[in-house]
């Protein structure tokens, strides 16, 4: 405590000055701490771009500064439009479309599970559920959100695919399902993103003022009318923000899709076939313990950078929605 400062009116030299200096030092150190997150972001950008450069040009940007020669080994046209992805193959294919397809297929499929179910859960929690039900359902969904993704991957490979989907595939469609399938990836990522949609949407719905609801009830509206015509439209930007967050999470999801959907890069419409997402490719390459400087190692960063850009776009979109949301209610 600085009660001892009273006897010394002179600022210079006294213990008051020492306290003020300590305060300034603390402020500088803490500012240094706060910049670490910015440094992390810059480092992610730098590392991904620098190493991805070596995939396209044969040398990292930092190596170019040291005088390494620059020759384009993979063209951007081939990268973005090619339909064969096998950078480590003897006759390499550098088209990223198959793994981007894998990621988008899982994301869209998961959205078909998590968005309707998550939204319905949010409406139920916010408008219909009694306090007793709420106090049990909400923690249960929080548990669902807290389970590690590797456990969901296990659930997919040990239960969803062999027990749930395999009988359906063989009896209804006559398809022998393998260890991995696109559909089990969609389902498991959908299940794990339900709590995300439901909790954020419910927050948005709960923020709708009761006056709006009561106004509608006074006109003779049922709870159904109030939910679908008052609450949902009034909280739509928050609800969309939750969708974007769930989609962003599904794009970056790694362990569950790796164990559920597999490692075979192909573009297919058969939901029971094995596919490969961008993240699954990265896991496969890391499993192969590829050495620095090999094409496999370099491709890791090209894929990683594209993944980062996709999720960053989603996050910025989410920020924009959230800001709109805050403008509506004060």
């Amino acid at each position: 405590m600085s009660t001892d400062t009273t006897p010394e009116p002179g600022i210079s030299g006294g213990s008051a000055q020492r306290d003020l200096d300590a305060n300034k030092r603390a402020r500088r150190v803490l500012f240094g701490c706060a910049t670490i997150t910015v440094v992390t972001t810059l480092a992610i950008f730098f590392v991904l771009i620098d190493n991805a450069a070596s995939y396209f040009f044969g040398a990292r940007f930092t190596e170019m500064l040291m005088g390494a020669s620059l020759e384009q080994s993979v063209t951007f046209t081939e990268f973005f439009t090619g339909t064969r992805w096998a950078p480590d193959h003897a006759t390499p294919g550098h088209g990223i479309l198959p793994v981007v397809f894998g990621t988008l297929a899982i994301t869209v499929g998961a959205a078909f599970v998590s968005i309707p179910i998550g939204t319905a859960t949010a409406i139920y929690l916010s408008e219909y559920a009694s306090d007793g039900v709420r106090s049990k359902l909400k923690p249960t969904l929080e548990i669902l959100a807290g389970i590690p993704t590797i456990v969901y991957g296990y659930f997919a490979i040990a239960f969803i695919n062999p027990v749930l989907l395999a009988p359906i595939a063989s009896t209804l469609f006559g398809i022998n399902i393998g260890r991995y399938s696109m559909l089990s990836g969609m389902l498991v990522v959908g299940i794990m993103t339900i709590p995300m949609v439901s909790s954020i949407s419910e927050d948005a719905m709960s923020a709708v003022p009761d006056d709006l609801r009561n106004g509608a009830y006074a006109l003779g509206a049922t709870k159904y009318d109030v939910s679908t015509r008052i609450v949902v439209p009034a909280s739509i930007s928050g609800i969309f923000a939750s969708y974007i967050l769930a989609v962003s999470r599904a794009i970056g999801e790694t362990m569950a899709v790796t164990l559920a959907a597999g490692f075979s890069a192909n573009i297919t419409t058969n939901p029971f076939s094995e596919i490969m997402t961008m993240t699954a490719y990265m896991v496969q390459m890391a499993r192969g313990t590829s050495a620095v400087g090999t094409v496999e190692y370099q491709s890791l960063f090209a894929v990683g950078f594209l993944l980062f850009v996709m999720t960053l776009t989603m996050n910025l979109l989410n920020d924009w929605f959230k800001r709109r949301f805050q403008e509506e209610y004060r």
Binding site: M1, T140, T254
Partner: protein, 305 residues
């Protein structure tokens, strides 16, 4: 409720003639049925998941003769009947300790700066916006960062410290945000009281604000670590796979609990699948205990401020 309006229909049936109240009521009930069923979907899936793991554990213990004691005291092995979890458990515990050490002070420090010192300038807003974006970066990207910058960049190799750095960067935004919330929960009156005695900002933070916010900060940190202990992708990127030996320090190669589970689950052998289920039970037990401690801390100190 719509049933209240029934008496009105006698007098102005011209006005309400086109409203079928019975249908409106049934529509409401139908909607309730649908959204209730949807709400139960998540619960059912959670039950199925836990049941699946429990039965796989049971089958593993009975049919594959996995002994819990052997499982907890042996290291991993290529041979399924000799494989255990000890190395992975030790690695995960060391990882969490290192991650906590690396992320706690810096994370709490930046939260203090943002809440207590930061002027409302462009730089502050940039840091805040960046924080929100970092929380949305996929965990595998943190693994790539650690791989390129530390494991290969400065030639660290696939060691435990590299994994801890990746996890520390990953949990940093979570720790910062939860610390900010804990600091915000300390009433301004407490700060002003301290300022009134002539204390500087730093003295106020150190002697008044931090002690009051500490339970909240610790709760947030433990919850963040409980999330980090299940993170798999960054560790795989760093190279934490196929190591069976128990690590003895931060510079040893390692395979943590989640990566070991992944290794086993990716094996075609049924024995390994059941080892994975047993590993999952241990991992979930760790998370359960960590969450329990966090909730205990929160409940114990919640009323004091």
């Amino acid at each position: 409720m719509s049933t209240d309006t029934t008496p009105a229909t006698e007098t102005d049936d011209g006005l309400f003639a086109d409203i079928d109240l019975g249908w409106e009521h049934r529509k409401n009930q139908l909607f309730l049925g649908i959204i209730f069923a949807a709400s139960m979907f998540g619960v059912v899936m959670l039950v199925l998941l836990l049941l699946d793991i429990a039965t796989d554990l049971y089958v593993g213990l009975t049919e594959f003769n996995i002994s819990i004691v052997d499982f907890l005291t042996r290291d991993g092995s290529r041979r399924e009947e000799l494989s255990g979890f000890r190395g992975a458990i030790v690695a995960s515990v060391m990882l969490m300790a290192l991650t906590a050490f690396l992320s706690f002070f810096v994370g709490v420090g930046s939260a203090i700066y943002l809440e207590e010192y930061a002027p409302d300038t462009r730089i502050t807003r940039l840091i805040e916006a960046n924080l929100a974006n970092l929380a949305g970066v996929p965990s595998i990207v943190y693994g790539l960062l650690a791989l390129a910058a530390f494991v290969n960049g400065i030639g660290m190799g696939p060691i435990l410290l590299g994994g801890a750095i990746a996890l520390a960067l990953l949990v940093m935004p979570i720790i910062i945000v939860s610390t900010q919330e804990a600091l915000r929960a300390v009433p301004d009156g407490v700060r002003n009281g301290s300022y009134a005695t002539g204390a500087t900002e730093w003295q106020t933070i150190r002697n008044v604000v931090l002690p009051a916010a500490m339970p909240g900060i610790l709760t947030g940190t433990i919850l963040a670590l409980a999330r980090a202990i299940g993170e798999t992708a960054p560790l795989i990127m760093v190279g934490a796979l196929f190591t069976n030996r128990m690590p003895f320090g931060p510079f040893d190669r390692f395979s943590a609990m989640p990566t070991q589970i992944y290794n086993w689950a990716a094996e075609p052998s049924q024995h390994f699948i059941h080892l994975a289920a047993t590993g999952i039970v241990v991992l979930l037990a760790f998370m359960f205990v960590m969450n329990g401690i966090a909730i205990y801390l929160r409940n114990k100190y919640e009323t004091e401020v």
